[in-house]
Assembly symmetry: D2
Homo-oligomer: 357 residues x 4
């Protein structure tokens, strides 16, 4: 397996299992001369960490990142940035009961079949704990991309959707509630829904919308590495994601060309933006926006049938401290992956741009 690197020029390689000694990664290709704000990095980790509110898992992990290289006197040097987050909360015995059991809709079965050996402790490599490393790298990418505004928010939980288009939302409100929805009325309904689901020992899915603003014209590498294709891959690589759409998305598939076309203004901007800020795989300077679908967390605190490695169906009781809804903690992960794509494509754009000649 060599699928643990993301990016072409701004590259992140991650390592680590949920219950190993540590997780971490290497960022290779981060430009030199960036004065890092370490508080901002830790703040992104805190947005993702467990135990931050009543509606997420009550596990406690401080998730403190240590940087080992690539930074000198607080400034990036252009050499690889190695970092580690030690796992302080490895309750391995919590998982002894699933040692030989494949939980439904988890990766236990496929990892075992693929690798012939498996770290059964809490999902090991397949655990969303790995995404903490993405958040660290994304936080650094955001500092490199300081001109670009990256905002993700919870746009639905179960059947509860934010009605307003993103243009009518105040992104400064995203952090004002625990579900990370900038529309207070919708947020309250969503939070109530998650609490109700949690009481049932059940879980629920949701969607996240992400908006990228002030993106320069010209980012994207046709034909295979179109900007939206790479954003799609980045989002689909996040645990529990089942779908991605940008601009008009699946609704666009119901429309007529005469309705769907975005007419130009004289400055090259467009009157509408059903295209979602990308034409032919290249950014056109308008807002880039997309929506990501998350399935409900597979671990429910109920009795369920599972399969054991001897091929027997066994009843299991979901235990442990799990998220009833992954969406609020996934908001910073979506932003991090978007930042990694934009950082990578900004570097790709730099090398080809006529402006530099």
């Amino acid at each position: 397996m060599a699928g643990n690197t993301f990016g072409k020029l701004f590259k992140l390689t991650t390592f680590g299992e949920s219950h190993g000694a540590a997780i971490g990664g290497v960022i290779d290709g981060c430009p030199s001369g960036i004065k890092l704000d370490f508080e901002a990095i830790q703040n992104e980790l805190d947005r993702r960490k467990p135990g931050q509110s009543k509606i997420v898992t009550q596990r406690k992990e401080p998730d403190t990142v240590e940087f080992y290289s690539g930074i000198f006197e607080g400034v990036t040097t252009g050499t690889p940035i190695g970092f580690v987050i030690h796992n302080t909360n490895q309750k391995s015995k919590d998982y002894s009961h699933i040692k030989d059991v494949y939980r439904p809709s988890h990766a236990d079965y496929t990892y075992d079949k693929k690798y012939g050996v498996r770290d059964y402790r809490g999902g090991g490599r397949s655990s969303a704990r790995e995404t903490a490393s993405r958040v660290v790298a994304g936080a650094i990418a955001k500092q490199f991309l300081s001109a670009i505004k990256i905002n993700a928010f919870t746009s639905s939980v179960g059947e509860i959707f934010v009605e307003k288009p993103y243009q009518e939302l105040d992104f400064s409100k995203i952090e004002s509630n625990v579900i990370r929805c900038p529309d207070e009325a919708s947020a309250n309904k969503m939070i109530a829904k998650v609490q109700e689901i949690k009481k049932q020992g059940d879980t629920i899915g949701g969607t996240i919308t992400c908006v990228l603003q002030n993106v320069a014209v010209g980012l994207g590498e046709p034909v295979f590495d179109k900007l939206h294709a790479e954003l799609g891959k980045a989002m689909l690589s996040i645990n529990a994601v089942k779908g991605f759409e940008y601009g008009s998305g699946f609704c666009g598939a119901k429309m007529k060309g005469s309705e769907h076309n975005d007419l130009f203004n004289e400055d090259g901007s467009t009157k509408t933006n059903l295209s979602g800020g990308v034409q032919g795989g290249i950014s056109n300077g308008m807002d880039i926006y997309f929506r990501v679908a998350f399935k409900p967390v597979a671990t429910v605190i109920q009795k369920q049938d599972a399969l054991n490695s001897s091929g027997e169906i066994v009843e299991m009781q979901g235990k442990g401290r799990h998220d009833p809804c992954v969406v609020p903690r996934a908001v910073p992960i979506v932003e991090a992956m978007a930042a990694l794509v934009l950082a990578d494509y900004t570097l790709l754009r730099r090398q080809e741009s006529q402006n530099w000649d």
Copy 2:
């Protein structure tokens, strides 16, 4: 721009503009010893080619592929397969009227801003003509993957959807109608819709569903190169695609974990398949299915405002012979890209598999 290669071990690199001398590509990494069925390859090209029916563009291109290397006495040699499709229908004058004009919702503007120079003839590199090279490579990948069944079909045109789940459809009927929908009743409604739209000089969007059967367990490279993430990128790299979902997709985001989990049978298969054949980014042996959203073609045969390179809004009249709905011709392209992903991941799986030791 170096985004014209797809794949890690089974690699396709394409070249060519819609109105240049030729398009083509290089397939590097195709295993040796595959006896090729050249008729099958040409047949896939014929499914994609213009002029094949009343509901697609009436342009005529024979789209005959010539192979220059990598094949000896009809068998692949393991060396790169170079191929070319000559463009026989370059009516460049058709495009003189848009030389300095950026058409709405086309890539004219972004290509010009990105590269500072532009082949304005019919979209050049951004034209879907490039996908003919993908179909050639996909047809070869299919022959390498002969055990896997790959079937795509039109699942909606505008508001007209196939009601039945794919399990109730007879894939052998896909080619029995020009819209490529195996459900005859729906097909007829879709065809009528496209003809009505065409009369209006308008265009319409649609969706394609693709089903991959008999895929071995263990394909996929966590964490970033998950099988469904690469399938998503592959589909999003196709012209006019706005969204991708697999398994339960966006509907899954409305569900509860207790409803969504796929319970096991003793043989490791699952009673339901909301997961869509992938767990943790790795195939589990169940059907892989996904849905792709296509926007309506941007070229409408109506008067529209456009922008010229001097920054003036000018009225233009859509001309030429264009598709009122891209979906039927996109069916073989979706299959081709799926085949390329599966071929690549099959080779990745080979090198890591314990079974080979």
Copy 3:
């Protein structure tokens, strides 16, 4: 096999066998806006082509390149440049006698064992004919790198060496003789040597020295992709190459640090240049120079024992029209590969350079 692409941002993918319909390649990542000099490209091909003088193979191949894409009105567009050279001289019957025979010190045996199938006609993919595609790409890279001076020349044939250091040679004389050695006295001895060897039906090895001047400071990507490491790989990928050294090379391994260190001038240049223009894998602005060793061509026009596919030793008589010494025709190939490395590293440098911000 997927080893037919060279470069990270300025990428060349080649295809083609010596006796197939055509060879060619795709250049992906060439910047847009370069006005190409097609005569200069053909001139490089002519320097490499067979039949150009009495001391090279008398095969006749016009080696005319056709460009299919990536160029519009004579200017690069930033899209992939697809090109083809048709093989006009496929005397396949010349090779029927070696259909089942593995020639000594050729790639017949290893290709057959690796791929299980083999295009036996004249070495197929392992033939140096493939390098014509490299020369086309290198010629375009040279035009992108117009500020850099790239000069290679024959520095030895057998035991005959150019005595003078390169600084005392007039590179404008390289093309003044058929062996491509700028020192006339040495050139004449080398030419006489090759003619003597040719009479014997034998072949002889030699070395090529290459000098890169006006290279900017800062090219190279530590730690694995050091500039000289990539130059070394590029040269070692050329047929018949057995060794590479840069700067002081193998002689440097005999020296003391106090002798070997290059002391600085105040402008950052150095008084000596045993380093060969690279420090820590990064160009320092001084001349980059290196030497490449070529073995004698394996095909001798003499009786030799060979192995057949049934495991029998059989006597064979070398036939055909072969080079008695590969070095003069390899000079433009060495330059082409150097140009590809410099183009690639120039683009890599662009994206990271603070100067562009």
Copy 4:
């Protein structure tokens, strides 16, 4: 800079500066199911570490490696192996005197010009300390490649060469002396030479020969990723290396084809092996052997002129504890890089081999 990853399927990414908190790396693509011998890994580190004998630097670093992931109950899991070596001996003040000084024939100047910022403490990223991470990964690759014998040894120091061909040497004697030369007589001369040089406060270069035995037929990816080309790049990426030759190498460039050709035995082996075990870039089953040239260490304990960042020539006095000859400590590094190349190409071979079908 994103040049810190080596390999295609068996990938090593390293990070770390000589005087940062730690160095380390991530091995991605190591097959699962390998029971690791941790003592063997530490033993390789001990062969490279400083302070191991009188003729190397007297710095003391325990160089203890910690594994953070990818290993469960002593067995590789197929997930990325993250590891760290903490720097216990960061005497940063030792380097304050060179804060603004570019030492001759070091990378100080080029790093500063390339990145615009520099960790001046002991060379930072350009220090050979980084190679400890390569040795860790190489030690794991060796365990994956247990059937292959990898032996490197010191073949020259200054003008003192081992006269015997490698076939006459007993590799079990390599570790029997501190210079790592299996020929005792030559070893003693080399050791005396290094001690003499050290007394002078000077340094001296040397060469290492490496022999790879029991390599399967068919490793190598023509045309650009030929096995010997990748070995060459791997060796040239090691600090202080100035040249690489394999098989007949530079001597082969003086020979005639009739002398140089390796005639076959009936089993496909060859009577001679001037080819060095590789034909057309693919291993042929014979021994692979190559020679690597190392320049003398640039830090001499003498007065020298240097350049400061203000463009002034200043006198400096080499300080610190440095190697008078890098070759004995480089022996395990050469083996490690050879192991990484063989592991990578073995995986590449697996995926393409017909035998696995």
